[in-house]
């Protein structure tokens, strides 16, 4: 039995009194293995401990050889590390995925409509559904985008939403990432690795394929310029080799067959964007940029940016090039706007949100602020503008001093913070020092939107490898594992 091999306590975090026990992806509350994990459970039961460790080492070697590395900010000793990858896949059954897929499609449709609206007529603000100042004063709102034509109203061409599974087993959206979400290369690399590690189980499980992601991404990007350019030239814009996600930029460029460019490779002339090639300048139509808004054009955004291209935004305004994702999409994944997403869905689509939000307190509202201050020890407080797990306070795990410091910051600038209850992320079995032990995980699926919305039938499962930790961000020592979406009884139909 799998339960017999589980070491340590099953509930590493002492939950705040009254909080529910986290959902385990593999084991039910009564200790049985869930059906969709049965095949994997039987396979690992036949493997000796050394065998597992050996496979784990082979896996790590595969990642190191491929150069699949990630830069951890602030770590001086080495700038490149492999992202810790766990051997055991996380498995999601077909019917659960169907709900997720529907929910994500609905959500991104609504968010794209929201962006088209606020950068256009601003009907939703006039109807008072979302407070005007919340949107217009958000640092991620770009007035430069006002009244600019975006094909198919597809602002967020690539979206990576963070989902978590709550103690009752239902998925909820923790965060929408509409700016430059990363991690898709790890999704693909993890799949390569787990096919090598558990080929038999993989074959028998009828796992949905994800290997079409690069060409779907390419056709989504091409579709953004297809109206006026028959065979658009697509490039991937990277900040360069020192960026933490450089591997991913190169990986996607290679698999799409698109040139990987840096700002210094591009020139704008007469509102057209060109790249410097060995044979002269060549025109570019679509830029899949992996550079933040602030840095894409020193003439329009940050003047001190050396990563962007002077004049790029004007070329975009002139309709001579498409920037993907569109600048200014960040306003729709702003942590304060997040609280309104269910209303936004209702407003544009007339539907209830299929995937719920996490309960969120907006500190900008005085009543909610005092509730947050009174319950700091139970809440997770996040800065609105920050990402990557920075600028946050996890109440139950913080010291009294940290809480009081954070309370001062809250009072000084309440509009900059939101608070959410401590979330119990679900747990999934991981191989830790040769033993199988549950760790907290989240789920980041990737959604493409262009002419249509495509949810990739796969995801990155991020793992908080430290026992009891809830922080899954790779910049703070998190890892990842492959995610198997089962095709179930239906035929595996690629989108």
């Amino acid at each position: 039995m799998a339960t017999a091999r589980r070491t340590g306590d099953t509930n590493a975090v002492e939950p705040p009194s009254g909080a529910a026990t986290p959902y385990d992806e593999m084991i039910t509350a009564s200790g049985d293995v869930r059906d969709h994990y049965a095949a994997l459970d039987q396979r690992i039961a036949t493997l000796a401990q050394e065998d597992m460790s050996e496979r784990q080492r082979t896996l790590e070697r595969f990642f190191l050889l491929q150069g699949i590395t990630f830069t951890v900010y602030g770590a001086e000793s080495s700038t490149e590390r492999i992202i810790p990858t766990d051997l055991l896949p996380r498995i999601i059954p077909a019917e659960e995925w169907a709900t997720i897929e529907k929910g994500l499609t609905q959500r991104l449709r609504a968010l794209n409509m929201f962006l088209a609206d606020i950068y256009g007529e601003q009907q939703i603000l006039m109807d008072g559904v979302v407070p005007r100042e919340l949107v217009l004063m958000a640092p991620s709102y770009r007035r430069e985008m006002q009244n600019l034509y975006v094909p198919h109203q597809a602002y967020a061409n690539v979206c990576g939403s963070d989902l978590i599974r709550q103690p009752d087993g239902a998925f909820a959206v923790l965060e929408d990432n509409l700016r430059v979400p990363s991690g898709v290369s790890y999704m693909l690399a993890n799949r390569e690795a787990s096919k090598r590690t558990f080929p038999g189980t993989f074959r028998a499980s009828n796992v949905r394929a994800i290997d079409r992601y690069p060409d779907l991404l390419l056709s989504t990007l091409k579709g953004m310029a297809a109206d006026w350019r028959p065979n658009p030239q697509v490039v991937v814009l990277t900040p360069g080799v020192y960026n933490s996600a450089y591997y991913e930029h190169a990986y996607l460029a290679r698999l799409m067959g698109a040139p990987l460019v840096e700002g210094r490779d591009l020139v704008v002339h007469d509102n057209m964007v060109y790249m410097r090639t060995t044979t002269g300048l060549r025109r570019i139509d679509v830029i899949y940029r992996r550079v933040d808004d602030d840095f894409i054009d020193p003439l329009t955004f940050r003047r001190d940016s050396g990563l962007g291209v002077a004049g790029l935004f004007n070329a975009y305004r002139a309709g001579n090039v498409v920037i993907c994702n569109a600048p200014g999409t960040g306003v729709a994944d702003d942590k304060a706007v997040y609280a309104y997403v269910p209303e936004i869905i209702k407003y544009y689509l007339g539907e209830d949100a299929i995937l719920p939000n996490i309960e969120t307190f907006l500190c900008r509202e005085p009543a909610q602020l005092s509730h947050v201050l009174a319950n700091l020890d139970k809440l997770v407080v996040k800065a609105v503008g920050a990402s990557g797990g920075y600028g946050m306070l996890i109440g139950p795990h913080a010291s009294a001093q940290e809480r009081s410091d954070f309370a001062d910051a809250l009072r000084a600038d309440p509009a900059n913070y939101i608070a959410q209850p401590t979330i119990q992320l679900s747990t999934a079995p991981c191989l830790i020092d040769g033993q199988i032990d549950p760790r907290h995980v989240d789920l980041r699926p990737f959604i493409l939107s262009g002419e249509k919305i495509i949810v990739t039938p796969g995801a990155l499962t991020r793992v908080a490898l430290k026992k009891g930790s809830l922080v899954v961000n790779s910049s703070q020592g998190g890892g990842s594992k492959d995610t198997w979406i089962l095709a179930g009884d239906s035929k595996d139909v690629q989108p």
Binding site: L65, Q66, G67, V241, Y247, Y251, H269, T278
Partner: protein
């Protein structure tokens, strides 16, 4: 068509890979030679140090330390580790342009020489350590040849390899024969020179064991088929440049013309009447012209002025 920056990185990747391989061979020959404490052995050490640009004569007395630092000193801009790190850094910048097979080979070598076990491996057996790097670099070149498209990117990679090779061999020959008053004549030193150029066996097959300085010079400079002769390298440079220049109007200052001239100079040289005393002057012309080709490649393909290339 490829990005100018990418072409530049591929070119430098080729140069650094070739440099690393050459340095491995020099270190290995030096360490082997100096196992004997003869005058000829320290002459070999002096040749190696001069060829890598180190003019400190006292180092020839401590060849092991010199080889260790040449192999693993990351502070030293000319060391094998530095060259491999730079080659890999350039490869990382163009990761989307080279095949996974090619990348993996180079990354593997890099991980080995920069890993924690490198110093111990060198201490346990410097010759095996250096041989392994050379063998892996051959695998790298083989992987590039077998898996990369033989298009523009591959040509820039090989341009770097062959231009570096021509300059390294040229420099080595200049050290040995450039000084007309004291050309290299010692038999042991001459065979060491052939080993440094990876030319001993091909030379013996061509000229038998009759090892003479003028024949070595002839072989390493003018042989048509030996892949490390300067003439062979120049012919490849000319070949890759004319293919890469097809779409560029670089005018008369283009690298292709310079390469063609150098190739002709070596192809039609009056080898039969060549005297050892004239070698220095010819070598210095060859090295100057290689440098001019290098500059012209950069000016034509990478750092060209935008005004000249605006679309019509």
């Amino acid at each position: 068509m490829m990005l100018a920056r990418v072409a530049d990185s591929l070119y430098w990747m080729g140069r650094y890979v070739e440099r690393a391989e050459h340095m491995c061979r020099l270190s290995d020959v030096m360490l082997n030679a100096t196992l004997d404490r003869t005058e000829a052995a320290s002459q070999v050490a002096r040749i190696v140090l001069a060829a890598v640009g180190d003019n400190d004569p006292s180092k020839a007395n401590a060849p092991y330390d010199a080889a260790l630092s040449l192999a693993l000193d990351r502070e030293d801009g000319g060391s094998i580790t530095t060259s491999l790190s730079r080659a890999r850094e350039n490869a990382r910048q163009v990761r989307d342009q080279i095949t996974s097979e090619t990348w993996e080979r180079l990354n593997l070598i890099y991980l080995r020489v920069t890993g924690p076990g490198a110093a111990k491996q060198f201490a346990d057996g410097s010759s095996a350590f250096l041989h392994d790097i050379i063998a892996d670099l051959h695998l790298f070149k083989g992987a590039a040849d077998a898996t990369m498209s033989h298009g523009e990117g591959w040509r820039f990679l090989l341009l770097g390899v062959y231009l570096e090779r021509a300059q390294l061999i040229g420099r080595l020959l200049e050290v040995c024969f450039g000084d007309r008053r004291r050309p290299l004549t010692d038999h042991f030193a001459l065979t060491s020179l052939l080993r440094m150029s990876c030319a001993l066996e091909p030379y013996l097959r061509r000229y038998t064991a009759d090892v003479r300085p003028e024949l070595i010079l002839e072989f390493l400079m003018f042989d048509e088929d030996f892949p490390r002769s300067i003439r062979f390298s120049t012919a490849r440079i000319e070949e890759h440049l004319s293919a890469a220049s097809r779409y560029v109007d670089a005018g008369h200052a283009g690298p292709e013309r310079l390469a063609g001239r150098l190739k002709a100079r070596l192809q039609y040289a009056d080898v039969e009447n060549m005297e050892l005393v004239g070698a220095g002057a010819l070598l210095s012309t060859v090295l100057d012209e290689c440098q001019a080709i290098h500059t012209a490649i950069y000016d034509t393909f990478v750092a060209y002025s935008l005004e000249m290339r605006l679309p019509a």
